[in-house]
Symmetry: D2
Subunit: 337 residues, 4 copies
């Protein structure tokens, strides 16, 4: 086992950072089987720090959601899959931030769901983070209420370079991963991503101290993260849409609009995955998914919306995904704690 440290310049000029999947040169090369320890900036690059900082004023909106990477995964070729297992995801600071952004979010007009309304107010909430107590403290702006919520750290954005020569904003999720914004992307989860270009070009960022399902206002409790992840390469096995696995569930993601298409992608992929894994006919797998799937919405704010379909492994006797990569990476992760 190899542990590699990849350091990020926390004071770098925002214009020099990476804001796309595809379209950027690899910053480092990683051998499959490696554990990487690194850091990710918050989605605002640390520039929204107080309740009086308005995101649209203190940031350059061309430079939102910087990614750490991309990493070249040695030997990865189109048609392969990489597995990214999150060993740990820990806030590196004692505060997080959420905001509303004019014309962004699920319960507002947007540039796509175009309407004649004035934008909703732009506001900023600062959360206190207590990593040892695993507490995230919400503080209302317009009244005195504070509420301690459980810390549940996750990465909103994990992905590889897309196909067709595209470079996609780190604000967008799709078949390449990207800004899926699902709380399932937590420590203990393995993320499977299909490879579209040589080296895959893996990036990650957008740490959230916690997030509701749907990320309704468009912004989670954003924070910088110290993250340790392990990477494996699965040769000759394609993965059309990102899949996740943890000790309890297998999960398929879909990212599209309208939201039912995100649902359809995730559930059609679950059907296929379970066909393959249990040797069921498509109709039998369709039936089994229909009675066993849990289906948490991930985000309804990004330029594609994301849905997760998941089935408990306890309902899939004999099923093993990707020849047991998750279990091996889980063991590996345990060994380095």
């Amino acid at each position: 086992m190899e542990i590699v440290r990849y350091d990020v310049d926390k004071e770098a000029d925002p214009a020099t950072l990476v804001y796309t999947f595809g379209g950027a040169e690899a910053v480092a090369s990683i051998r499959p089987g490696t554990v990487v320890s690194t850091w990710t900036a918050d989605c605002y690059g640390g520039r929204v720090r107080s309740e009086s900082d308005m995101a649209t004023q203190v940031t350059d909106t061309r430079y939102i959601n910087p990614q750490t990477g991309p990493f070249h995964i040695e030997g990865a070729e189109p048609g392969d899959t990489i597995a990214v297992h999150f060993c740990s995801i820990t806030p590196s600071v004692d505060w997080g931030v959420s905001t509303t952004i004019p014309l962004f979010g699920a319960l507002t007009a947007t540039p796509y769901t175009a309407m004649l309304h004035e934008p909703l107010p732009e506001r900023t909430w600062i959360y206190d983070l207590d990593v040892s107590a695993r507490v995230v403290r919400y503080r209302a702006l317009d009244s005195d209420l504070t509420i301690d919520l459980p810390m549940e750290p996750m990465h909103g954005t994990v992905g590889v370079a897309p196909p067709l020569g595209e470079a996609r904003s780190s604000l967008t999720p799709g078949s390449w991963g990207g800004n899926m914004d699902t709380p399932e992307m937590r420590a203990g989860t393995t993320c499977y991503l299909g490879v579209n270009v040589p080296g895959a070009l893996l990036s990650l960022g957008d740490g959230h101290a916690r997030q509701g399902e749907g990320e309704t206002c468009g912004v989670a409790v954003e924070t910088a993260m110290d993250t340790v992840f392990a990477v494996e390469l699965i040769k000759g096995v394609p993965t059309p849409w990102p899949r996740l696995e943890d000790d309890t569930f297998i999960m398929s993601t879909g990212s599209a609009r309208p939201l039912e298409d995100a649902f359809r992608i995730s559930h059609a992929d679950l059907v296929q995955w379970i066909c393959d894994g249990l040797g069921l006919s498509p109709m039998d797998a369709y039936q089994l998914v229909s009675q066993t799937a849990l289906t948490p919405v991930a985000n309804v704010c990004d330029s594609n919306y994301t849905v997760v379909g998941k089935v408990a492994k306890s309902h899939l006797p004999g099923f093993t995904g990707y020849a047991g990569v998750h279990d091996r990476l889980r063991t590996l992760a345990a060994s380095i704690r």
Copy 2:
């Protein structure tokens, strides 16, 4: 406390049963505070009983999803809310059935998502139900696999007469409730429904021994149910979209197409409910929902799709919905076991 038995003729001619919300005369009158014990047929009226019974052949498709009711709730007027608490929901037979239906379901062309494909195959799965062990046994049709799944009984359909003089098929969910098909409609849950016509005209049916979130193929593990529920009347409090409450969560439902509109309805209602319950400003409540909501998809197969947004009461210190009706009904339910 009053316990009322409402008996259903299990051998009735299907053409004489009730298949709409609105458009039917009340079968009984219920005083608020009453506990009702009754029975509901399965969605096929018990006519699909073996793997060789095809739903489109053994049933008359005009008569799908019969409802028990409607019940006239004494004193209910437009602008009020009724609370329906499920004391118990128990399969009354030892089998359940699921099927595919041509051009119905989430992963197939439908009359609305019209395409040029041939329909998927029509198939029927029969499940063994073991009420005492709380087990639902899946049996693959095309291979030898059987899987024991946990029994989690629920009602797919609960609702009142809609507004505007409409009568709506029991296959459709909407602001009046109806065919929401959410697994949250289980014993221990209170369902709040806004009243649109005098007496509310409450009906229920469509029992499921279990169901995946999304009801992907369009049909759950359908079964007849012995159900006990309590009804309360909340005067002068409107409820625009159905809300649910159990001991742990408050929940808002939205039923619409596209699926993001179902999401928007449920989350906008959560924001409003929490504004009211905690005295928060709308933007503060929007923020709190964004970080705390869980968002399970309910169905993506009916003529409207349904999403549930839910927030743990533990994240809402001091919140009480509907002046504590759920707690009172919970206590009442406990007293009759």
Copy 3:
């Protein structure tokens, strides 16, 4: 040929009028082949008459869009089609009205596309109608501009009772017709509607002096209409979704959400209709539609959205729809002018 006058009480209590398709008794019986001369109220029942009348204040929102009918078509049975040919549609008054309505329209949050915005302002525009000059005069409220637009009278709402025992609001379009709000429903057009209940129960209303495609703000230039239409019955031929025909085009409508489903319905129906009419294979008809269809949006404001797909008859050599009913009704209509 028989010409029948059906008179409407223009001073009737709004609560006594008909606001649903289905759920109302027939007001008259019509023999196929009859020409009917009648009148329809505007969607507000004439109660919004000046720029200071706000629709939500001067009307009871339970009583919007009254229909003339329903008419029992003699001999019509489920599985048949009725053809309704519009001989003439003429404003019966010299004014029309349009308004905005809070939370209704395409460019605003609505109860379905639920958001946290305040509603847009409610405003009322009164149009001068000059029937002889066929002019509709727009007058800006906030500046001095007036614009004379061509009068293009049409019915927003034409339909029959829906299937499954439903009664549907006259504000909603669907497979039964209803509030399709397409400018194609003009004099010279024949509308084909599938029959769901004995007698079909045809109603119509919602006259528009003109309307943009999409009916963007949700309200056209609403006016009362003197309308003459002819009805024919086509036995044993079902029509799943409303079709239109004029001298130049055949047209299929779809009404659904999201809007792409309305598109899919209309285009799949065009493919089917052309398969049948030209003896083409489905793939050849799909190809022909792909290169020849015009596709005007009808409405993006109602509870279902409507799209019209149309193909010029000049591109369909040898095609005759419904055995030439349109041509016969056209001739009939010409004979009574």
Copy 4:
């Protein structure tokens, strides 16, 4: 006036051509006011030539829809607008091709609208083009029918580099233009595109001899084109979404999913454009658009769907868009015929 010839190597290796907006170096620099004469390949690069050529077999699906360009427009900066006027668009060969492609099109399951159906059959239709007679000949594959249709040449794809560092496939439309697939992009039309990067980086391609509105099967009558266009630069005027203008209409496009969002974008932009051009209040412009817009669907097959909202200039007395650029380019174009 300057006329510039830009020649394309018609025999180039497909892998060397340009398939994205953004992500490619300019091939030439164009001074505003220039007329450019060039050629565009058909979407298959000329490789699908007979009814037995299946697109998925004779092409490399990474290299679909090659673009001519990108052209650097001198002086164009973010925040400016370029105007591209089509002087002439003429098929350069005497044949066109259309196909079905598995899992692509409006009436089929796709990778996004994921379903369990088998793909529809892949077929190829070859059209005879007669440029002098302006005829496109459809020939059914499965029966003997041929139909002569009017030639109406257009470009499916016209656009500039997108913002945020993205490179987008030439198969996708969006705010940068791209694969909008609207028949309005014909000779005589001026297309306004907002500039996102220095030089704008204009490309065009995807000629269609004709196309139905919606491009239902996903493929028009594809053909190589000889095209002459003029370019102007409008400094300091942004254009958020592509607009079109011809002698009769102003038009706004929206490209998004679901289709109602494409509608909303185009109609909200029309409202804004007319506010600006006539000095109307937003509500007065909303009203005027509601009664005057025509709304042809452009495509319902691409990764975003496109809707065009258009208003006749005759309904907009005193309106001039972009200070009369269209009229000047129209005159320029007339001078070179």
